[in-house]
Subunit: 356 residues, 3 copies
């Protein structure tokens, strides 16, 4: 798709993100690129003032910038209060979302007779859909996906290659799961008998809400009883592990390699940064933020940001870290205090003791 | 399956877990559920006194409780010293373990002529079994599984979808591997030549004992020479990484995202909590416990629980953490000590100096 | 393959690793094994003096050792300045690299008409190669691999089972990707609109250089714009996560469960130990080393080794850890300082106060 810069700016403005072109608005635009890589026919953006120097060297046809950015020689600027939102709209307009291969119902897919597959299904070769699965309209199911018996899956879902969904899981509408993720495997449910572990049948399930997107190679345990739940609108990056019986609220954002143990209650719009972990049986309040690599061992109040291992409110963590980094110095001060006291004591004793 | 509560209690008692019904033992029971979700025909359990308040609101037909729990109005209790074990037995009796689809030998599976597949094999479409594989009786192999040449696999194994087993690995009887796990990939074995890395053929293998269960999307490196070994009865959760040449004892329990580097010796019945890691070439004694997110850099004696980074015995770690969290206070105390000393010194000098 | 020890030593010497046999050089050698497991016809090696005791008990036919190791009774030694390099050469000579099954172009693979597959391709059943893929000569593609539209892949690549490569990714020559890894999935790219997350099309790609080897179940995000890049010669272990737009230099070595957030610049020959993590938008200099479990929150200068959370130069980290471990002792010293000061103060006041 190619638009003039004027047309593109008008479109973005129509999306609620006002744009004004400072320069030649007739230039044709066909793509979005980074400042570094953009060339003829490509727009770019400057969101972080740290990179403002690149405005002088970029070969982009135009650049989305904040209103206060100074005019550049020979460079067309598009001024907007939110360059990031503007470029997002430009990407959607010029490039759109991924277009999937069209398989219809591949004759190399294995679909059980009792499975109900909705209209306009796009099912690749090597897909396996087991007994009594219900799959909504407009599903795109890539090769190598396995959907076990009794799963109920909404409409407009996209399951990328080699996703595995165990029996009886429920997925909402517009769910996207990236390649290799596994939904509904058994959790670590064993009863100890002496030193042996006796497996407890994991008869619960997983319920995933609408508009959830899950990254690649994640694992979401089914519950022992009841359900593990992922709230609508929640987004996961890759290699995220969710334990059995954990319930995660709506619109959360979990970065790569996050791990949440079992029976945790996570509120809505909670952010977990990379490699953070949460122990079992605690509660994370709405809008809480868990910093990268934090190890959360106690419940977190709504709106609080925690960091560290064990995680504490971020202000406390930062103060602790600052002091830990000054510990060598503190140790020296303690040594000096000891010397000073000894010297004082000696002095006092000299003062007090009668001269010989 | 439906039983009366009396029949269910009698069954559980027969399993060595004594139960007595306090209420209507004739009520029909067909399922186990959580206190929150249970309704007619469903039993639940109360193991943690923290949730005792839910006894007043649950709609369960009966609840397994400890003997000391007070009688409830209108609620049938089943008293037993171990409600968790009782409910495990009830789940097994009423629900049983997962029932797999029955494929026989799918004609969409690719099985090499030299492979030996045991009796009653249940091999799904899209499975690949390479040359000279030996697969024992009663195997269930889900779609998308790849078993490379020369693997020897025991009887009654279950390999969930998209499991990959590299060449020459050995699995015992009743091994279960969840979806997407990879067994026997090459470890990070390279010889440095200048700044380049020259690959060392990884000619070792992986040996997995009987009754091992491995979660989803785990990775277990083959050894460079000899074997990586997972002892019988050991259970892994998801996204666990085991390095080349590491040997893990029997009946261990590893929680999600645990990582063990290469050439580690792990004893028997070792517990590793989530996201814990162990560096290479050390030894973890029998019955040791590694806390969540711990980073183990030195060998651990049998029976010891370690925590922290670097991991130390848990008592020491907790003491360190408690003090670190009080460091701001300690820093203030040091400042006060300095002031007090200065004041004392001044006072002494005033005392000693002759008045002007 | 079987050689005499003399022939094997001559071969290794010819590779630039001088070897001299101290003992019977006519003994036939057919394999390499560990000191513990080696027997007749097998050579082993002693690189770490810590294991020298095993020389007395090994049943190996000969052992590669450093020149200074004392002669052993009844044990043939092969003296060489670099036993590890020597044994690597011996493994390559006697065992060679993995031999793949030979499928030619399996008729159970799905290859788009517009895909260009190079000469001598070895494509297993259940492989899917989408429209406009270019795949170089001598590719080995195992069952269950999915290569999306428009990928360009060099020659002599090996893609193990169930690898998934999203659309438009570029792989160099001699790239190896182990089972279950996913290349080019969408990163966490969303624009916040109120509390909702609006997906930003991820129109960038991934570029992987020559001679890269990637472990099992890794995930490498495509860039939002431009490319995520992995430099030639870099090696990853398993379960590694790379964020969108991150660029990693040549000849790096990343151990299992490493995570690098988005928009990070990693230099060449950087080592990251297990479970280490790097936050977004920073730079790691050439030849830097990131210790196990380190959490890197600031850019790292070339050649520096960092450790801890937040990561600091290793000397500082070790000093901090040493002091933290002595904190209980330090706390006691502070208490004693307080007591001593109080005592001194009292003493001074007694001295100063007139007797009653």
């Amino acid at each position: 798709m190619t638009l003039t810069l004027a047309e593109l700016a008008a479109f973005i403005t129509s999306q609620g993100i006002p744009c004004t072109v400072d320069g030649d608005a007739s230039v044709p635009i066909r793509a979005v690129a980074t400042l570094e890589e953009a060339g003829e026919g490509q727009v770019s953006f400057l969101s972080n003032p740290k990179y403002e120097g690149q405005l002088a060297t970029t070969r982009a046809a135009a650049v989305f910038v904040k209103p206060e950015v100074a005019a550049q020689q020979k460079m067309t600027l598009v001024r907007t209060p939110d360059p990031y939102a503007a470029v997002t709209a430009a990407i959607v307009r010029l490039h759109g979302y991924r277009r999937h291969p069209q398989w219809g119902l591949s004759d190399r897919a294995a679909i059980a007779k009792t499975a109900q597959v909705g209209a306009k299904a796009n099912i690749g070769p090597g897909v396996y859909i087991a007994e009594n699965v219900i799959l909504g309209d407009n599903a795109t199911v890539y090769p190598g996906v396995y959907i076990a018996q009794g799963c109920r899956i909404g409409r407009d879902v996209t399951l990328y290659p080699n996703v595995v969904i165990y029996d009886g899981c429920v997925l909402g509408d517009r769910v996207t799961i990236h390649a290799g993720s596994v939904i509904g495997e058994d959790g670590l449910g064993y009863a100890p008998v002496g030193e042996k572990w006796v497996k407890i049948p994991q008869i619960g399930s997983v319920i995933i809400g609408d508009d959830v997107e899950i990254g690649a190679n994640c694992t979401i345990d089914r519950a022992t009883l009841g359900n593990t739940a992922i709230g609508s609108g929640t987004k996961f990056s890759n290699l995220v592990a969710i334990g059995h019986g954990t319930r995660i609220g709506e619109d959360c954002m979990f970065v790569a390699q996050v791990g949440v143990a079992g029976s945790v209650q996570v509120g809505r719009h909670v952010t977990m940064a990379g490699q953070a972990g949460i122990v079992g049986h605690i509660t994370i309040g709405d809008h809480a933020t868990v910093g990268a690599k934090a190890g959360v061992t106690n419940s977190v109040e709504p709106g609080v940001t925690v960091l560290g291992q064990p995680a504490v409110p971020i202000k406390d963590c930062r103060r602790q870290i600052a002091i830990v980094q000054r510990l060598p110095e503190i140790k020296n001060e303690i040594r000096r205090l000891r010397q000073d006291i000894d010297r004082l004591r000696e002095q006092i004793q000299n003062d007090v003791e009668p001269p010989p």
